[in-house]
Symmetry: C2
Subunit: 242 residues, 2 copies
Amino acid sequence: MTQNIYDDPEFFQGYSQIARSIGGLDAAPEWPALKAMLPSMKGLKVVDLGCGYGWFCRWASDQGADSVLGLDVSEKMLEQARNTTSATNIKYARADLEQLALPAASFDLAYSSLALHYIKDLPGLFAKIHAALKPGSRFVFSIEHPIFMAPRNPGWLIDSEGNKRWPVDSYQLEGERVTNWLAEGVIKQHRTIGTLLNTLIGADFRIQHVNEWGPTNAEMAAQPALAEERERPMMMLVSVQR
Amino acid sequence: MTQNIYDDPEFFQGYSQIARSIGGLDAAPEWPALKAMLPSMKGLKVVDLGCGYGWFCRWASDQGADSVLGLDVSEKMLEQARNTTSATNIKYARADLEQLALPAASFDLAYSSLALHYIKDLPGLFAKIHAALKPGSRFVFSIEHPIFMAPRNPGWLIDSEGNKRWPVDSYQLEGERVTNWLAEGVIKQHRTIGTLLNTLIGADFRIQHVNEWGPTNAEMAAQPALAEERERPMMMLVSVQR
């Protein structure tokens, strides 16, 4: 089973305080770019893999999705997700994404936000997502960027002129990366971009769009702290077709 | 027109001394990985975009290609390429890849090694390559990796424990990168991986394989200097289908 770090009290407490936990989709700087990669929700059967507090599920329902299934490994997050909606077309269920079981050819869209870098068996998960999607439908996700995740000791260096630089090492060494983000010992799985894309292709998905998210000029003007996101990519947003 | 740095006497002199100029394909550490992405050459009509000394053209001819067209902007390199083959099915021609003109649906394989990062109008070039290929055929290329190319001052940092780290900055700032490799003022075009892949997809290619080249254990044992290529990706090898 995947490490269930979200039910760790220290992690959960920390996570509940970050901007996107409080402000939802609009507090996530990559959301406009990710939204632009999504089809219209009208009439779609949607599954959200790693739904957390359910922000996306509620948005999809509001946008006219036929039904939304939100899956998460964290009981605490699912509890909060259930407590913040009265929409009858949203269903939440506990699921370990390493052991996903979904009905075949049942969904028009699979969505996942910043969850897949916790998964060990990505080929297995992609095969199950492929099987759960109807032919022609989409899988859209965000994932931590391998350049962000690769280093032994991730962090900025400031050069003599005050510029931020992101030192990369160990890029080709795939496998566990243990960080202390919100709690100690958070385990992520580093893979190269090549491996990520080839795993999707190997699961018979067709790559449609790849966005290594960075802020627009307008976003930087509104939120100057985003400037560092221009220096190195932190997230990848990917859209594929079944 | 693209900067024709290869006909700069200083650059040409320097380039003629590097391992892959002297030793050809077998002196290029990425060649085994790139070769593994190629179809059998038997009976294929092949075009090599940026053929240099013609090492790949001769290999393709030796492997049974029906015909090979080697294109390069450098007269000096074409002269040497012509002088080192007597194969009648190889033809060399001068071409600026920014102004490519090829007959429609005429080739079974387009190949390009470490040339595309010099190209400004990549959407235009990809559209022309697409038009020149027969339906179902392949375009396989290598290109400098955006992580290698992005920084203002590319180079290794050595940390206090002697580990090599590759500081990344300016990743989202696409455009010219001027380096002093073999000669001063060599101009390359930085693009994100997302832009590269989306430009291929926009030209109606289907992504088949992405390899961010790094050495195998056997390659590192045979050539210990390759160890640093594990720390950050230097090249991308890409295979797409028309």
